[in-house]
């Protein structure tokens, strides 16, 4: 290799080096800030509860729970049963069967003695037509089943919005279980602030958690290593970015597994988008855009104590599928709402939230792969200090582990979950593995998400369903 080529390579590597230094400083600072702020917020909430800074009575805000379902015959009956056991008075359940090929509708009709009804649907948002509607008034709250032509999850949710009758709706997955007090907790931000248009709840993996009438009776980390690592990952991400973004009304995502929305605003903004895979994120971005561009006072909140238990994939194949789908959804949503990029009108939403999602979520798999490729390249031309690189990597891993463990402790401690010493050790070991191995596998998987994505347009993103462990 000639000297000039060598110099050029060295300069390129130097530039990449500087980029990575800035990138890592940004990322570490963000993670650090969010975990510190998140933990303090959880402790503040715990303290508030202790000193009875809470609602002494139930102020029921009418809520419609929309459960979109596609081939959910294994879990749908348990899900509805758990919803009927919620500790709340004024709500209805609307299950939307998106043209399932299995016995989803039949199972529901039989289990809840539902009857056919000729119910007119107020079609405020476009969606595929209904095939039949069943209702049951045998339970403490009205239960409705709308069977419609297949159109994807977003379409099913739009049908749910059209069919439901209350001013606020909750969207959730058919394989999830809401904790008994989740509704009374998720409505609190609405009572505290009249401008709230959406509230996100906390999603926690339900693998190995035993629930009885929506109450956790036995909590332990899952035996499945992959699910266990996701518990740590969920704790970190829900504790980290979401609480921090909440501080400046900058939340860009409310999980599709558990979120509450003001129906009127969602309808005005156009409802869920059929054309994106991440309809949950797209809706939140849409709400920001709609409210900001129309100068409407609004806020999007995060309820740290409203919990939904959801199944985390236990097979690597399912996890990869899920993450690819999420990544595509992220890309589609961000692209669709690119007007928010570097726009002073959107303020912190643009310059902090949108920028963070762009750099540290959307582009991160590519940047991480570029990092690995650079290291390999530098190694081949003997331009790398291996002991320093290993030390740096170790510091990074320990830093990540510390943050994960901080989030894990804060989360379990503030919601009064008891964890065994074995689980603490398990968490400690697995968070190291998650940061050093799983993260890179998922970075690679996410970077390949775009391959063949057009074909998957209305795919429901199936993962293997298991019976939920509820009594």
């Amino acid at each position: 290799m000639s000297n000039s080529t060598f110099l050029i390579i060295q300069q390129i590597l130097d530039c990449i080096n500087v980029f990575f230094v800035i990138y890592l400083i940004g990322y570490s600072s963000f993670l650090f800030l969010s975990v510190v702020i998140g933990s303090s917020e959880l402790y503040r909430k715990k303290r508030q509860e202790r000193f009875k800074n809470s609602l002494l009575r139930d102020y029921y805000i009418p809520i419609s729970i929309i459960v979109p379902a596609y081939n959910e015959e294994v879990t749908v009956v348990e899900t509805v049963q758990s919803l009927l056991a919620l500790d709340y008075t004024l709500y209805e359940i609307v299950v939307v069967d998106d043209g399932s090929k299995d016995a989803t509708s039949r199972k529901l009709i039989e289990a809840f003695q539902m009857e056919p009804i000729r119910r007119p649907v107020h079609r405020k948002i476009k969606c595929q037509p209904e095939e039949f509607i069943y209702e049951s008034s045998m339970y403490k709250v009205p239960l409705t089943l709308v069977r419609k032509k297949n159109g994807g999850k977003a379409d099913a949710l739009n049908m749910g919005i059209n069919a439901c009758k209350y001013p606020y709706f909750i969207c959730m997955d058919a394989d999830s279980v809401l904790q008994y007090d989740s509704l009374s907790r998720i409505v609190r931000p609405l009572i505290e602030d009249q401008n709230v248009v959406a509230v996100g709840g906390v999603v926690r993996p339900s693998n190995s958690v035993e629930l009885e009438r929506g109450r956790v009776v036995n909590y332990q980390l899952p035996e499945n290593i992959l699910a266990c690592m996701q518990v740590l990952e969920y704790d970190r991400s829900f504790l980290a970015s979401r609480i921090l973004f909440d501080k400046f009304n900058g939340s860009l995502i409310i999980s599709g597994a558990f979120g509450l929305f003001r129906k009127e605003t969602v309808i005005a903004a156009g409802g869920y988008d059929h054309s994106t895979m991440g309809e949950d994120m797209e809706l939140v971005l849409k709400l920001h855009e709609y409210c900001v561009l129309n100068n409407l006072p609004y806020s999007i909140k995060y309820a740290t104590d409203a919990i939904c238990w959801s199944q985390a994939p236990e097979r690597l194949k399912d996890l990869c599928k899920q993450r690819k789908r999420w990544h595509l959804g992220l890309f589609q949503s961000m692209w669709k709402h690119r007007v928010m990029l570097a726009s002073p009108k959107f303020g912190a939403i643009s310059f902090i939230s949108y920028f963070y999602f762009l750099l540290y979520e959307l582009l991160s798999p590519f940047i991480e792969i570029l990092g690995v490729a650079t290291m390999v390249a530098a190694f081949t031309v003997d331009l790398i200090n291996i002991p320093f690189m290993l030390l740096f990597f170790l510091i990074y891993a320990v830093f990540g582990c510390t943050l994960t463990m901080t989030a894990f402790f804060a989360r379990t401690q503030t919601v009064d979950l008891k964890i065994s010493f074995i689980d603490v050790l398990k968490a400690l070991f697995l968070c190291f593995f998650e940061i050093t191995v799983l993260r890179f596998i998922l970075a690679f998987v996410r970077s390949t998400a775009f391959i063949g994505y057009k074909k998957k347009k209305l795919n429901w993103g199936r993962i293997e369903r298991k019976k939920i462990n509820i009594k």
Partner: protein
């Protein structure tokens, strides 16, 4: 530079983990100490309730200890436990503690608001100062009603409802009306319904000041009257027919007459239903209210509303016709009529009624 930064962050995170572990240990220890304290309070209370009056030493001891919020919490639990054993005597004992709580008022007013909120919570929970008109306490509660912390405000309001002084409650409403902080309307009118003093006196004072409140508060107060008494039909009718009034206020007047049927209001309700209104809400709410006025004209008005282009008007009209208990034959003109949407809406209501009847039979 990166390493230094990461090492710094790492050190802070490690200290956070240590903080978490220390917290776990501290909470565990604190719970143990509070339990011991709680047990001592229970023993004391059970001893004191045997006496005609709690002795001076006990009252002094309480005045000193309960200034700490942890002790107040332990005392709260102890009262609950003692109440289970001898409810009547504990009730009398609690009433005899009023002097202690008057003394504590100023102490708690000085505390951090998150802690201060616990004090009105206790006053309300045990009705400690019910019927006692002590300016020092009511002024302190009104001070807390001004606070930015919603829960502090709400606990103070609950304490005022429990004390039962109409003037103080009216003062609190005025503070909320002028306040820059949002206070959920349902919390206010639900709270007013819990007022433990002279309800008539309170209503009178509210009416005297009704028109000095802003729209949001007036809507809240109308909701309160709707759930508290049917004695204000005349006053509310005057507001409903006043075209200069805000629409939100007039909607609530219509709702009032849905709950308390009042013949003089009926002709105005028909007007809302039949004449073109500035907003469809008038017609939709009236369509619901008419269910409380069963007669031939109501039925014919509702049948017309069933063909209204607005979905909500049709929905409410169908519900009202259903509530009026009409049979299929009486509505055949709608079922067989040209307006498919009207027929569909009514059919749905009939189906729903059938399901409800089935449920009743099942129960």
């Amino acid at each position: 530079m990166v390493e230094t930064l990461i090492y710094t962050y790492l050190a802070i995170c490690v200290s956070m983990i240590i903080f978490n572990i220390v917290c776990i240990y501290y909470f565990h220890r604190r719970d143990k100490v509070l339990l011991r304290c709680n047990n001592r309070f229970v023993e004391d209370i059970l001893k004191q309730i045997q006496l005609e009056q709690p002795d001076e030493k006990h009252l002094k001891d309480l005045s000193k200890k309960l200034t700490k919020v942890n002790y107040l919490m332990a005392f709260d639990e102890a009262l609950e436990r003692a109440y289970e054993k001898d409810p009547d005597r504990v009730k009398t004992y609690i009433r005899q503690l009023s002097s202690v709580f008057v003394y504590l008022t100023l102490e708690y007013l000085k505390k951090e608001k998150i802690k201060a909120a616990y004090f009105p919570y206790i006053i309300n929970k045990y009705d400690i100062l019910r019927g006692l008109n002590i300016t020092l306490v009511t002024d302190a509660m009104l001070e807390l009603v001004k606070d930015e912390n919603l829960y502090c405000r709400e606990n103070a309001l609950q304490a005022l409802y429990s004390i039962g002084n109409a003037n103080s409650v009216l003062e609190a409403l005025k503070i909320l009306d002028k306040s820059e902080f949002y206070h959920y309307s349902k919390m206010i009118y639900d709270g007013l319904l819990l007022f433990k003093g002279n309800r008539l006196e309170l209503d009178e004072k509210i009416w005297e000041n009704f028109f000095s409140f802003h729209t949001t508060m007036r809507v809240t107060l109308l909701n309160y009257f709707r759930f508290s008494s049917g004695d204000y039909c005349e006053k509310i009718l005057r507001i409903m027919i006043d075209k200069k009034e805000e629409d939100e206020i007039r909607y609530n007047c219509i709702r009032y007459f849905a709950r308390y049927p009042y013949e003089p209001a009926l002709s105005f309700l028909y007007d809302f239903a039949e004449q073109e209104q500035p907003f469809w809400e008038y017609t939709a709410i009236t369509a619901s209210a008419l269910a409380s006025y069963p007669n031939e004209k109501t039925i014919s008005v509702l049948k017309v509303l069933l063909c209204n282009p607005n979905w909500y008007v049709r929905y409410n009209a169908a519900e009202s016709l259903n509530k009026l208990g009409l049979r299929y034959e009486e509505l055949i003109d709608v079922f067989e009529g040209k307006d498919r949407y009207a027929g569909e809406m009514l059919r749905y209501r009939f189906d729903q009624k059938r399901l409800a009847e089935r449920r009743n039979r099942y129960e």
